[in-house]
Symmetry: C2
Subunit: 475 residues, 2 copies
């Protein structure tokens, strides 16, 4: 089928954009190497035509991935070459270090102009990382209403709904009809870029209700808004922690939620796309904390990464010396039966593994609120049961192998019993330690691992070496 030029013109740009969209990624989800090469060459050649056609048009999140995939030098060049064609909302999609680097190389005038165009939540996201001075300078360049809005968001503490909300929303009075509402939306140019809900407020901005757009569309023009609006079951206080807000979204399958101040006045709207990021960060945080790493990012330097990992290693070192001093108690025994030194890491290590299994389940269940006082006792019993069962299984297994290895039935029996003891200790530590930490307000993901390993190391070495000392009558 051959298209006329006319048709091509109409379809062209959109089609090209789509092809771009789908094309910058390779199979495995990373940015395609040949695309990176082309972009790199275009930056080196200052090929504005290519950059405008194939880079400036990317979706903000694709631009973000591109910025993360190229070198710092290229990054700064690209941004300066694109000039006004560079959409600053891409900055909401990159690591903090990269964002700061780019922002520092842009004039404040340019940033202010871009922030003015953005949804307020994105603007706040970029502003909040800047130092006080730059923040003030940029805010001063913004029109009054914009400035007030952004300042209000920035006044709320980090990680609250108020900080994450978008201050643009559609709100109508309850006595309007559906027809009036639709006409207002058709005529007003100052509406947010996209929205899924409209809010019903009184003259003092007190929140009266909510209305999903599909409800508006399904209702006759003459019907009054107040008769079809829903009471807002879950308005989010601006001071609420973003994690808590995210849980509301998950629990009630919300797409957006009204954010209200302490007087129940509507100040903004929290949308699901921001919440998805929060949910993801949350889950990631738990994983990173269990693994003993903090908020580090891939773009961090060697120095700062090393520093951020030292505290956890240091705490572990203390517990390692504790375990070592338990072994030291039995030096005389080891001197006589060196096989004990060979086998003791097995007892301690298997306990550590079993303990970390239980701990992982517990930490996750606490985070998702599946584990609470109502079922804690049942879960403790279950874990103890699992510890007993697996302790018996692995005790027998290791006992046989160790007994055969060193041709010593006694040694086999001793390691079997020590294994059983340590597996039960591991199970109990794996569940009780996170539960207790949670009860006393500490984050179980951060500190459970150290305590659990301490318990399994100490119990493992003590049970095994202690039993051997007693059985073989060494002193």
């Amino acid at each position: 089928m051959s298209d006329t030029g006319e048709d091509d013109r109409k379809q062209g740009p959109v089609a090209a954009e789509i092809r771009e969209d789908q094309d910058i990624y390779s199979e495995d989800g990373s940015v395609r190497s040949d695309y990176l090469m082309h972009v790199g060459a275009a930056i080196a050649d200052r090929d504005l035509l290519y950059l405008r056609q194939h880079v400036a048009r990317l979706h903000a999140s694709e631009m973000g991935d591109l910025l993360e995939a190229i070198q710092a030098e290229q990054r700064r060049m690209l941004v300066s070459l694109l000039g006004d064609d560079f959409d600053l909302s891409a900055l909401t999609e990159v690591d903090e270090a990269i964002r700061l680097d780019i922002v520092e190389h842009l004039p404040n005038d340019r940033i202010a102009a871009a922030l003015g165009e953005m949804d307020s939540d994105d603007a706040v996201y970029i502003l909040e990382d800047l130092d006080q001075e730059d923040q003030e300078e940029i805010l001063a360049k913004l029109p009054f209403t914009e400035r007030v809005r952004l300042r209000r968001s920035l006044d709320y503490p980090e990680s609250t709904a108020g900080r994450r909300m978008q201050t643009e929303f559609v709100a109508v009075p309850p006595f309007w009809t559906v027809g009036q509402t639709i006409d207002y939306m058709r005529e007003d140019d100052d509406l947010p870029e996209s929205f899924t809900q409209i809010f019903v407020i009184d003259p003092t901005f007190k929140l009266l209700g909510t209305l999903d757009l599909d409800r508006v569309l399904r209702t006759k023009r003459s019907v009054k808004i107040e008769t079809i609006m829903r009471e807002t079951n879950h308005p989010v206080p601006a001071e609420m922690d973003q994690e808590e807000a995210a849980q509301l979204f998950e629990q009630y399958d919300l797409l957006s939620a009204a954010v209200v101040d302490e007087n129940n006045r509507l100040v903004g709207v929290l949308t699901i796309d921001d919440v998805v990021d929060v949910i993801q960060e949350e889950a990631e945080e738990d994983l990173m904390r269990l693994g003993g790493v903090g908020d580090e990012e891939l773009s961090d330097s060697i120095g700062s990464t090393s520093r951020s990992r030292v505290p956890w290693l240091l705490v572990n070192l203390l517990t390692a010396f504790l375990a070592a001093s338990v072994i030291a108690l039995f030096e005389a025994t080891i001197e006589q039966i060196v096989a004990l030194a060979v086998l003791m890491p097995i007892v301690a290590g298997m306990g550590g593994n079993a303990g970390s299994q239980t701990m992982t389940v517990t930490v996750r269940a606490l985070a998702t609120r599946d584990l609470d006082i109502h079922n804690a006792w049942r879960i403790v019993r279950r874990e103890a049961g699992v510890g007993l069962l697996n302790g018996l299984l692995f005790g027998v297994l290791i006992g046989i192998v160790a007994g055969a290895w060193f041709q010593d039935v006694n040694l086999g029996g001793i390691i079997a019993v020590a294994m059983l003891i340590n597996m039960i200790a591991a199970a109990l530590a794996g569940i009780m330690i996170p539960l207790l930490l949670d009860k006393f307000g500490a984050d179980p993901a951060v500190s459970s691992a150290v305590f659990v390993t301490t318990v399994t190391d100490v119990t493992g070495f003590f049970a095994f070496l202690g039993l051997a000392t007693w059985w073989f009558g060494i002193r």
Copy 2:
């Protein structure tokens, strides 16, 4: 202010519902104990009035939390007491074991009737866990169109977009005007319960474009749909894995996406609330796998939990014996210097901790696609640098403490060097092993931990005991 009876009647039910909503949870997010007591008593007394007023009205997700908080006996009683007032969509909010238990105690007629009322994605969620026979019996009781829809979803493999999609959607032809579209939505009773997008299709259901509801509302009645619709940039093939679909949602901040078959015909819609669950499951999966636990749920029995954890422990046992046999090589050395047995777990353990830090970061970065071939080399160098830096730091630290403890400068020097070697090995193993597993198509979250620990144990014991044997000239 005193309200008239009339006002009370109008406001009453809604207000009561809201109060219920906010009230069943205590501060820490678990279901309130006194509420559970009341419900328990009402179940025991068969107090239908209380149950209908205070339980039947709960939001599906609250009902789910309630069902998870009470005993199995009470659960079955509650469902049977509520009868038709029990909203089966609560079943999409509970653990699989609880869902199956409840469904098994309900007559198939009742289930069929409830599924007929539900959105198809929820209905499929409940149906997919049932055995073939029950599934067929329930499907047979459904009206033709419902049956065809559900079968189509069930025909797609588990964990695909086709399985997760909702088959109810609003679709209009491109030549309709905005006015016609609004009138259609006002008059048609068969629309999905809620929606945020309408789709534009040709007579064969080929997808032509998408239209957000706010766009419809902002446009004059006379405007043709085809002039305001957007090309659908990201239609989701029904066969696409749900994780991949979730990544599209995240990348492009989608609220819903058209699901199309191999001929680009619209078959359903995937909505953000389902995707949020997928994202959460994903992150959870990585965490659980790194911790050596599979897909277990809190409601699993002791037996099945124990069984599911055995494989990982077994693999770890093998590597523990490998490490033990390295120690066995140096029995003669340990016999002469028992301090080595005391100190060796420190070297191995600290390496394990450092390795798991690096591994955690790597696994997470691979999952979020932040780590790919473009920056892998940079990250490997960074991790090696961190290993060197922390190896020097902790080598010196441990060397001093160990040297002082055993009054032996040589021992201090040996453990310092062994520590440095093991920390560098840990860093390299922590990044290379997940990278290689990922490259060869294995899930790095499942198997990295075992390999990394093996490397750090073997390297730790070998470096420390080997250096000591050589230095002190023992053979």
